[in-house]
C-alpha cells in the first residue's frame, strides 16, 4: 500500500495550476478548453490519491509546517469536498466559455488563466481546511481571496463585473484587516497563535477574558464576510450577480465551506468564553431571517441564489451555535450538491434567455431534462424529504431542538416556509406562466419559436451525477456521517466541557 504524505496533495494541485498557467502562455493552441480538461483530470488524480494518504500518527496532532497543518478526518473530508467542487466548477466553466466571449471579447483570449486560477484557489482552500494556526489560516485565506479577486472581475470590461470585482476587493480587504486585528488581540491575550495551545491557555484560566472576547469578536467579523453572515453580507448579491456564473458557484460553495471549517476550528476554544454562544445564536438568527426575507422578492436567479446562500449560511450557523460538527458537515455536502446543480442548469439556460427567473419560463417545454434537474435542485434547497437538503435541515434543527434553542427553531419554521415560496417560484416559472405575464416573456418567446437547448454530454453526465447524489444522500446519509466520526467525538467532548 502506498502512503502519500498529506501535504503533497496541495503541492500537487499548486504545481498543476502553475504548469497550466505557464504552459498556456507559451502555446499557440487556440482551443483553450484542453487546459480545462487537463485540470479536471489532474484534480481527479489528486482526489483518488487523497484516499491513499498516510494516516496521521496518533498522539502528534501536527502533520508538519511547524504545527501549522493537520490532516485529521475533518480536514481530509473537506479536502476531497474542495477537489470535487473545483472539478465541477471547471466543468461548468467549459460550458460558460462562449458566454464570456459574448460579455467581453478580450476575456476569451485569457481563457487559459480562467481555467488555471481555480486550481490555485483550490490549493488555498485545501490549505485552509487543514490550518490550525492563525498565521497559516490568514495566509491561506489570502491565497483564496486574491485568486478570487481575479476570477470575480474576469470579464472586467463589463461594468457589472467590474463593480462586483471592486466590491469584493474592498470588502475582502476590510475583512482581512478585521481578521488580522483580531488575531493580534488573541496573541496579545494568550501569547499563542496555535489553536491547540490557545485552547490550553484558555483552560488554564489565566487569560484576560475581555481581551480574548474582543479578539474573538473581531475574528468572527472577519470570517463573517467569508461565509456571508448578516450584517457582513452586503457584498453578496452584487458580487454573485456580477461575477461569471461558475465563479459565483465556486464562491458560494468552495469559499463558504472552507469558511465554515475554519469557523468550526476557531470557535472550539472560544466557545468557552462567556456570551460567545449567544453571539453566534444572534448572528444565526439575523442571517436566516435576512437571507430568507430578502430572497422573497428577487426576480434574478443569480441574485436569488445569492440571497439563498445567505439563508443557508444562517442554517449552518445554527449548527455552529449548537456545536454540531457532523450536522454542519452534512449540510455543506448537501449544499454543494444542490447549489452546483442549480448553477449548472443556470449557466446553460442563461445563455439562451438570460438569468432572470422569467428566462426560465416554459423551460419544461423547451428542455424537459434541464427543467427536471432544476426541480430537484430547488426541492432540495427548499428542504423536502428524499433530498440531501432535507437531511441537512433535519440534523441542524434536531440539534437546535436538543439544545432548547427555542428562538432559533421558531424563526426556522417561518423561514423554511419562506424558502418554499422563493424556490418554488422557479419551479412555477418552468411549468406555467405567471398570472399577469403574457407570453411576451423571453422564455415563452423561446417556447413559441420552438427553440431547444442542447446540453453537452459532459454537463449532462455531471447533472445526472449531482441529481443521483442529491437523492441518494437524501435517503442514505450514513457515508457522510461516518466520514467525519472522529470529528463527532471531538465536538461531543467540547460541548460537554462547556456546560
Amino acid at each position: 500500500m502506498i502512503a502519500i504524505p498529506a501535504p503533497h496533495l496541495e503541492i500537487d494541485v499548486l504545481i498543476l495550476g502553475m504548469v497550466i498557467l505557464v504552459w498556456e502562455t507559451f502555446t499557440t493552441t487556440t482551443n483553450k478548453k484542453v487546459f480545462a480538461y487537463i485540470g479536471m483530470i489532474g484534480l481527479t488524480l489528486v482526489f483518488i490519491a487523497s484516499f491513499f494518504v498516510a494516516s496521521q500518527p496518533i498522539g502528534g496532532q501536527s502533520g508538519g509546517f511547524w504545527n501549522f497543518y493537520t490532516a485529521d478526518a475533518l480536514a481530509m473530508f473537506f479536502k476531497r469536498f474542495t477537489l470535487v467542487t473545483t472539478i465541477l466548477v471547471i466543468a461548468m466553466m467549459i460550458d460558460y466559455a462562449p458566454a464570456m466571449t459574448k460579455a467581453d471579447d478580450r476575456a476569451s483570449a485569457n481563457l487559459g488563466e480562467f481555467f488555471s486560477l481555480p486550481l490555485l484557489t483550490c490549493a488555498g482552500l485545501m490549505y485552509l481546511v487543514s490550518a490550525i494556526d492563525f498565521i497559516f489560516i490568514f495566509v491561506s485565506l489570502e491565497l483564496v481571496t486574491i485568486s478570487f479577486f481575479v476570477l470575480v472581475s474576469f470579464t472586467r470590461r463589463n461594468p457589472i463585473a467590474l463593480e462586483a470585482g471592486v466590491k469584493y476587493l474592498i470588502l475582502g480587504g476590510v475583512s482581512a484587516a478585521f481578521l488580522v486585528y483580531g488575531i493580534t488581540w488573541i496573541f496579545g491575550a494568550t501569547g499563542e497563535t496555535n489553536l491547540q495551545r490557545i485552547t490550553a491557555a484558555f483552560a488554564s484560566g489565566k487569560i484576560d477574558n475581555y481581551a480574548a472576547t474582543f479578539g474573538a469578536v473581531l475574528i468572527i467579523v472577519g470570517l463573517g464576510f467569508k461565509i456571508a453572515a448578516v450584517p457582513f453580507q452586503i457584498w453578496v448579491p452584487d458580487v454573485y450577480q456580477g461575477a461569471p456564473t461558475p465563479v459565483t458557484a465556486f464562491l458560494s460553495v468552495g469559499s463558504k465551506a472552507a469558511g465554515f471549517v475554519v469557523l468550526i476550528r476557531v470557535l472550539q476554544p472560544f466557545l468557552m468564553l462567556p456570551n460567545m454562544q449567544r453571539l453566534v445564536v444572534l448572528l444565526a438568527l439575523l442571517t436566516v431571517v435576512y437571507g430568507n426575507l430578502a430572497a422573497l422578492p428577487q426576480n434574478n436567479l443569480k441574485r436569488l441564489l445569492g440571497y439563498s446562500s445567505i439563508a443557508h449560511a444562517g442554517y449552518l450557523l445554527i449548527g455552529i451555535a449548537c456545536f454540531d460538527g457532523p450536522a454542519v458537515t452534512f449540510y455543506l455536502v448537501a449544499y454543494l450538491l444542490m447549489t452546483l446543480l442549480s448553477f449548472a442548469v443556470l449557466i446553460i439556460v442563461s445563455q439562451q434567455t438570460g438569468d432572470e427567473i422569467s428566462g426560465f419560463d416554459g423551460l419544461g417545454k423547451r428542455a424537459p431534462f434541464l427543467a427536471f434537474a432544476m426541480v430537484i435542485a430547488m426541492v432540495s434547497l427548499a428542504g423536502l424529504p428524499f433530498t440531501a437538503g432535507f437531511f441537512g435541515k433535519f440534523f441542524i434543527f434536531a440539534s437546535a431542538i436538543a439544545q432548547k434553542q427555542i428562538a432559533l427553531v421558531a424563526v426556522g419554521i417561518v423561514t423554511v416556509a419562506c424558502g418554499f415560496y422563493y424556490y418554488l417560484k422557479v419551479v412555477r416559472a418552468m411549468y406555467w406562466p405567471a398570472r399577469n405575464a403574457s407570453h411576451s416573456v423571453a422564455g415563452w418567446q423561446a417556447v413559441v419559436k420552438n427553440e431547444t437547448i442542447t446540453v453537452s454530454p459532459l454537463s449532462r453526465a455531471i447533472m445526472i451525477g449531482l441529481m443521483v447524489a442529491t437523492i441518494v444522500f437524501g435517503v442514505y446519509p450514513q457515508p457522510i456521517l461516518r466520514a467525519i466520526t472522529p470529528q463527532r467525538r471531538q465536538v461531543a467532548t467540547t460541548s460537554t466541557s462547556t456546560h
Binding site: 427536471f372 433535519f394 431542538i401 419554521i413 416556509a417 418554499f420 418554488l424 411549468y431 406555467w432 450514513q478
Partner: protein
C-alpha cells in the same frame, strides 16, 4: 409484498418520465397495486395486534433510522384505501394535452407518498413519504388546475409546508423526549418505550399542541382549513380525489398511530380545545358549505367538515370511538373520491360547476346521476353505506366517553351538536344533488354524453367498497380493533 406497494408507483413514475406510455403504465401500476393490496388484506392475520409483513433496512445507525415497512390493521386499511382510490383516480383522468407524462407521474408520486407514509413503521419515513406528495400536488394544481389555480397552488403548498415543518419539530421533540439510550425512530419501539418511560406530563402537553397544529393543518382542522376548499376546487379531479380521499387522512392516521398512544396526558389536557375546534369543523364549516354556490367548492368544504367527525371519534379516547374514526377515514376517502370524480366529469362536459347553470343532468347522464347519488347518500351517512356504520360508532363512542357523569358532559353536548351536523350535511348534499342532476334541464345540456363503459368500473369499485363495509362492517372493524385496543389497555 408491502415494499412492492411503495416501489411500484415510483418505478412506474420513473418509467413514464423516461418514456413509457403514460396512461397505460400508470393504470397497470395502479391495478397491480390494487391486487397486491387485496392480497395483503386477505393474508393478514387478524388474530394479533402487532405489525405484519415487516421489512427493514438500516439507514443511519447513529440516529437509528430504518427504511422499514410493516402494517397492522389500522395501516393496512389505509393502504387499501390508497390503492383503491389510486386506481379510480387514474382511471378518472381525462385526456391531458400538456405534459401528459408529468401528470401521471405526479399522480403516482402522490399515491406512493401516501402508501409509503401509511406503511412506514419508521417515524422519519412516515414523515418523509407524506412530504413526497407536496411538489406533485403543487404541479398538479398549478399546471392542470382550473379557476384560480395559481393562487390555490401557492396556498396549499405554503400552508402544508408550514404545517409539516411544525409537525417535524413536534416529531423531533417526541423522539428527544425519550431517554437517550431509548431514542429511536422505529415506531414499534417508540410505542413500547413510551409505555415503559411515559413522557413527562408538561412535555406531553406542549408536544401534543405542536402535533395538533402540525397534523391539524394537514387535516384542515377548523382554524387551519382555508387551504382545502381552494385547492380542491381548483385541482384536476384525480388530484382532488387522491388528496382529499387519501393524503389528508395522513394526519388523522398520525393521530391514531402516535399521538393517542404516546401522549395520553397531553391529549387529556387539551381535550376541550380539540372539541371546540372540531365543533367548528362540523357546525361552522357545515353552515359555510350550505352557502356554497358551486359544486366543487361545496365538495371541498364538505370534506373539511367531515374531518370533524373523525376528530370526534379520536377525541373520545375509547376503542369504540377510535375504531369508528378509523372506519370513517376509509369510508370518507371512498365517498369523497367518488364525488370529486363525478364532479370532474361533469365539469369536463359542461365547463361549469355553478349550481345556477346546471340542472337536470340526470336526464342526459343517468349513470353519473346514479353514481353521484350513491356517493352523496354515503357522505350524508345513510344506512347501508360505510359512513353510517362508522359514524354510529363515533357517536356512541363519544357519547359514552362521559357515561359515568351525573349531569351532561362535554362530550355528550358535543355529540348532540355533531348529530345536528348530519342534518346540515343532508341539506347541502341533497341541495347539490337537486340543483345538479334534478330539476329542469337547460337545453344546452341535452346532448351531454354519459360516463362511458370504462369509467363505470372505478365507480363500481368505489361503490362496492362503500357498500361492503356498510353491510359488513366487521370485515374492517375486526382488523382495526386489535391494534386500537392495545393503545387503551397499555396506557391505562
Amino acid at each position: 409484498m408491502l415494499l412492492f406497494l411503495v416501489i411500484c408507483p415510483i418505478a412506474a413514475a420513473i418509467l413514464i418520465i423516461v418514456g413509457a406510455p403514460a396512461r397505460f403504465t400508470a393504470l397497470v401500476a395502479a391495478i397491480l397495486n390494487f391486487i397486491v393490496g387485496i392480497a395483503l388484506f386477505s393474508e393478514f392475520d387478524r388474530s394479533t395486534a402487532g405489525f405484519q409483513f415487516v421489512r427493514s433496512f438500516t439507514v443511519s445507525t447513529d440516529w437509528r433510522i430504518h427504511f422499514a415497512f410493516g402494517v397492522d390493521g389500522l395501516s393496512l386499511l389505509m393502504v387499501l384505501l390508497a390503492a383503491i382510490v389510486t386506481v379510480s383516480a387514474i382511471w378518472f383522468a381525462d385526456k391531458i394535452d400538456d405534459y401528459e407524462r408529468a401528470f401521471y407521474a405526479c399522480l403516482l408520486f402522490i399515491s406512493a407518498g401516501a402508501i409509503g407514509a401509511f406503511a412506514s413503521i419508521d417515524l422519519f419515513f412516515f414523515y418523509a413519504f407524506h412530504e413526497l406528495a407536496l411538489i406533485p400536488t403543487f404541479l398538479l394544481i398549478g399546471i392542470w388546475g382550473t379557476g384560480s389555480r395559481v393562487r390555490a397552488a401557492w396556498k396549499i403548498t405554503i400552508y402544508l409546508s408550514l404545517g409539516s415543518f411544525i409537525l417535524l419539530i413536534g416529531l423531533i421533540l417526541l423522539y428527544q423526549s425519550l431517554p437517550p439510550p431509548e431514542r429511536t425512530f422505529d415506531i414499534r419501539e417508540l410505542l413500547q418505550a413510551s409505555v415503559v418511560h411515559p413522557i413527562a406530563v408538561p412535555d406531553q402537553r406542549h408536544i401534543y399542541l405542536l402535533l395538533l397544529i402540525g397534523f391539524g393543518v394537514l387535516i384542515s382542522l377548523f382554524p387551519f382549513h382555508s387551504w382545502a376548499p381552494d385547492a380542491y376546487a381548483s385541482a384536476p379531479a384525480p388530484a382532488a380525489m387522491l388528496h382529499a380521499g387519501v393524503l389528508k387522512k395522513f394526519g388523522l392516521y398520525g393521530f391514531l398511530r402516535l399521538v393517542i398512544p404516546m401522549l395520553p396526558d397531553g391529549a387529556h389536557y387539551w381535550t376541550e380545545l380539540l372539541v371546540i375546534l372540531l365543533l367548528g369543523n362540523i357546525i361552522y364549516i357545515g353552515l359555510v358549505t350550505i352557502a356554497q354556490k358551486q359544486l366543487d367548492w361545496m365538495l371541498g368544504y364538505s370534506s373539511v367538515m367531515h374531518m370533524g367527525y373523525i376528530f370526534l371519534g379520536i377525541a373520545s379516547a375509547n376503542v369504540l370511538g377510535s375504531t369508528g374514526a378509523a372506519t370513517l377515514m376509509f369510508a370518507h376517502g371512498l365517498s369523497i373520491a367518488l364525488l370529486f370524480g363525478i364532479a370532474g366529469q361533469v365539469r369536463n362536459r359542461t365547463g361549469t360547476l355553478s349550481f345556477e347553470d346546471l340542472g337536470g343532468l340526470a336526464k342526459s347522464m343517468p349513470f353519473a346521476g346514479l353514481a353521484f347519488g350513491f356517493a352523496a347518500f354515503a357522505a350524508i351517512g345513510l344506512p347501508g353505506f360505510a359512513n353510517f356504520a362508522s359514524e354510529i360508532m363515533i357517536f356512541f363512542g363519544a357519547f359514552r366517553h362521559g357515561w359515568e357523569m351525573q349531569r351532561f358532559h362535554l362530550f355528550q353536548i358535543a355529540t348532540v351538536l355533531a348529530l345536528w351536523g348530519v342534518v346540515i350535511s343532508t341539506v347541502y348534499m341533497l341541495r347539490a344533488y337537486r340543483s345538479t342532476f334534478m330539476g329542469t334541464m337547460p337545453k344546452r345540456w341535452a346532448k351531454l354524453i354519459d360516463l362511458g363503459a370504462g369509467l363505470r368500473i372505478p365507480v363500481a369499485l368505489l361503490v362496492a367498497g362503500l357498500m361492503c363495509v356498510g353491510f359488513f362492517p366487521q370485515t374492517v372493524v375486526n382488523i382495526i380493533t386489535p391494534a386500537i385496543r392495545t393503545y387503551f389497555t397499555t396506557t391505562k
